[in-house]
């Protein structure tokens, strides 16, 4: 059983700067958790606290049911893959892989067997005699992963392992990690700033900003049910369109979203949810993903500023009032005129509109006050 529980984990530095505020997270056995967020959000610090490389200022950390706050890294039964690989430059690949086992005083034949097994899985057997500087970035990355694998740890920690690779290699390695995941059945804790990596790799994603956890959920949940403006804007490519100065209206018991003077009658699910929350008319920020924008019809209009040809579709950057609106049009669709300067109509289906309270930024439907108070924020559950 390799579950990891973070209870109220906090990190305060000597100069009174709080890098991580109260992280509460229960990672299930064999789960793949991704910590994601912009630079400085505290995700690496959290990972390092789990590794034992940073002193835990407050809170409790349990690995496999044991309290490990004061346990040194080598006794926590964890392994870590670093962003810059941190391979021993003067040792061969073989020795790099074998080092930890040597320190544990395992017999030579056992070490040899384990090293070769891992090298086989990662396809680096032919490099065993080489030194790191003779390897490419991708190969070094595999050795770094191998070094962690060889220890057969309860928890596999990865700190932005793909950030040093070029785009193409990154895609390749991402696929490899997914394959790896099926090979080694253990708990993973993965840190990245790239939301694509988070979405493709994670069973659950933890989104952090400025040391706070903003949402914990499956990729589907954080994509479709973001609890606040930050999460909505962070997850999803291209970024969600936000319309400021919109209103939530309640007329005769029916909710409407008013965007640029255009009234949208909200969908059934939204009506029920808003009613359950007893939502009152207020100022909101409306969010519509570019994928959800219907182009060429409707009462909203925007002026095209830039159109990017992306291959299978156009990314249209248009302007509606103060807001930039990004829309996607498949290139197959030739009926709409997409030249610069042209005004274009657009609309959306109401049930795809996200509603955010303008003052707090919280999603009127998905923000769950209770889990937020417990510092383990998830999207709200409805049972209809």
């Amino acid at each position: 059983m390799s579950e990891v529980v973070l209870k109220g984990l906090k990190k305060v530095y000597d100069n009174k700067v709080t890098a991580v505020h109260d992280v509460n997270l229960e990672i299930k056995d064999k789960e793949f958790i991704v910590l994601v967020g912009p630079s400085g959000c505290g995700k690496s610090t959290t990972l390092r606290m789990v590794a034992g490389l940073e002193e835990i200022s407050d809170g409790e950390l349990f690995i496999d049911g044991k309290l490990v706050n004061d346990v040194p890294p080598k006794d926590r039964d964890i392994a870590m893959v670093f962003q810059n690989y941190a391979l021993y430059p003067h040792k061969t690949v073989y020795d790099n892989l074998a080092f930890a086992l040597k320190l544990r005083k395992e017999p030579k034949d056992v070490i040899d067997k384990k090293v070769r097994e891992v090298a086989e899985i990662l396809d680096i057997t032919q490099y065993l005699k080489r030194k790191p500087k003779a390897l490419s970035g991708g190969q070094r990355q595999r050795v770094a992963i191998g070094r962690a694998m060889v220890r057969d740890p309860k928890v596999f920690l990865m700190d932005e392992p793909l950030s040093n690779l070029d785009a193409k290699l990154r895609n390749q390695m991402r696929a490899e990690i997914i394959k790896l995941r099926s090979r080694i059945n253990t708990t993973f804790m993965y840190v990245t700033h790239d939301q694509t990596e988070a979405m493709t790799l994670g069973d659950r994603i933890v989104i952090m900003k400025d040391g706070y956890v903003n949402q914990i959920g499956t990729p589907q949940e954080v994509f479709n049910r973001p609890v606040n403006l930050f999460v909505a804007g962070f997850i999803g490519m291209p970024v969600m369109n936000f319309f400021d100065h919109c209103k939530l209206l309640l007329e005769d018991g029916v909710y409407y979203a008013e965007i640029r003077g255009v009234k949208f009658k909200l969908g059934d699910f939204q009506q029920k949810a808003l009613k359950q929350n007893n939502a009152q008319p207020c100022d909101i920020v409306a969010g519509i993903r570019p994928q959800h924008v219907t182009v060429g019809e409707g009462e909203l209009s925007a002026k095209i500023e830039v159109s990017e040809m992306m291959g299978s579709e156009y990314n249209i950057h248009a302007r509606s009032g103060d807001d930039e609106v990004v829309m996607l049009i498949p290139t197959v669709d030739l009926t709409t005129d997409v030249s610069m300067g042209k005004t274009i109509n657009f609309t959306t289906r109401p049930h795809l509109i996200q509603l955010f309270d303008r003052e707090t930024g919280n999603n009127l439907i998905w923000y769950d006050a209770e889990s937020a108070t417990n510092n383990a924020p998830v999207c709200k559950r409805y049972d209809f």
């Binding site: 080598k74 941190a86 021993y88 003067h90 080092f99 320190l103 070094r147």
Partner: protein, 302 residues
């Protein structure tokens, strides 16, 4: 296309003003080089020339009546060879001990988790700016009972605070923290990490340190002068001091015998300069870049 080529040509051709600048620059530097090289060159040609010619001022640009007499003479001088042997011993001792003392200390000082790191830094910095002086230093040595022993020359030389800080700076900038963290997670303790991870990566700084300490010890004379009474312990520089300098300090009389003495004495001087500088000059070109590197490492403010 043509315009671009034109612009390129303009950028590459020097203006007359610049040409003058470069020429003057090169000439002045060339003169400087001559000023540096000539004395060394002169010593060499004077050492292999007939002493009479040297005395007569004939030897200026090239050797006259080449003779190896001086070299033969110096071979006979036991004190020179004894001094040589002593200096080699002292230098070797100093280098070995200084590496053992300086490198681990530099590593420890570079670790943020060293208990009392700030205090240690202050402890080492103060002596850079303030010292007790010559007499108290001598008294310490004598109360330790080290006067007239080789330890009086070797021990004070094995830690230079300057070198210590240079080592510290090297470790801070060349050994990535993540490497140490990886080793920690792998289960290595501090000593193990130092021996198996840090030392193999420290070849550059060990080389620089060895050179700095070696040259420092090879060239030193003063401690030997005040602490050693036993002539058998004299390092080379002290022997050289007798040969090269002692004779110049008294007002000489006149007369042929004194001239004769000077004639031979000077020849010996030229030769002894060469003989004592041979190791340094031979190694110098190969070793020079390491020294320069050392200065640059040190100049990244620690």
């Amino acid at each position: 296309m043509e315009k671009r080529q034109q612009v390129k040509k303009m950028a590459l051709r020097d203006t007359t003003g610049d040409k003058i600048f470069y020429t003057i620059n090169a000439i002045v530097l060339g003169i400087l080089a001559l000023i540096v090289l000539y004395p060394l060159y002169f010593i060499v040609i004077a050492a292999i020339s007939d002493p009479d010619a040297v005395l007569a001022g004939d030897v200026v640009l090239y050797p006259v009546r080449i003779t190896m007499e001086g070299f033969a003479k110096i071979m006979e001088r036991k004190d020179v060879w004894l001094g040589y042997r002593n200096t080699i011993l002292y230098t070797a001792l100093t280098v070995i001990l200084s590496i053992i003392v300086t490198v681990p200390a530099g590593w420890a000082l570079s670790r943020k988790t060293l208990p009392g790191q700030k205090a240690f830094m202050i402890y080492f910095i103060i002596p850079m700016f303030f010292g007790g002086g010559l007499i108290p230093f001598y008294n310490v040595m004598s109360s330790l009972g080290l006067v007239n022993t080789i330890w009086s020359i070797v021990l004070p030389a094995i830690l230079s605070v300057w070198n210590l800080f240079m080592t510290k700076t090297f470790f801070q900038s060349s050994i990535p923290d993540t490497l140490i963290e990886a080793a920690t997670i792998d289960g290595a303790g501090s000593f193990r990490i130092f021996g198996e991870v840090v030392l193999p990566l420290s070849k550059a700084i060990i080389a620089v340190m060895a050179l700095y300490y070696a040259v420092g010890q090879w060239n030193s004379y003063f401690n030997a002068m005040i602490f050693l009474q036993n002539e058998n312990l004299y390092p080379l520089q002290l022997v050289l001091k007798e040969i090269l300098i002692a004779s110049e300090s008294t007002v000489g009389g006149s007369g042929e015998t004194i001239l004769q003495q000077y004639r031979l004495a000077n020849q010996l001087k030229y030769v002894s300069v060469i003989v004592s500088s041979v190791p340094v000059l031979l190694l110098y070109p190969f070793v020079q870049k390491y020294f320069a590197q050392g200065v640059m490492i040190g100049s990244l403010k620690g």
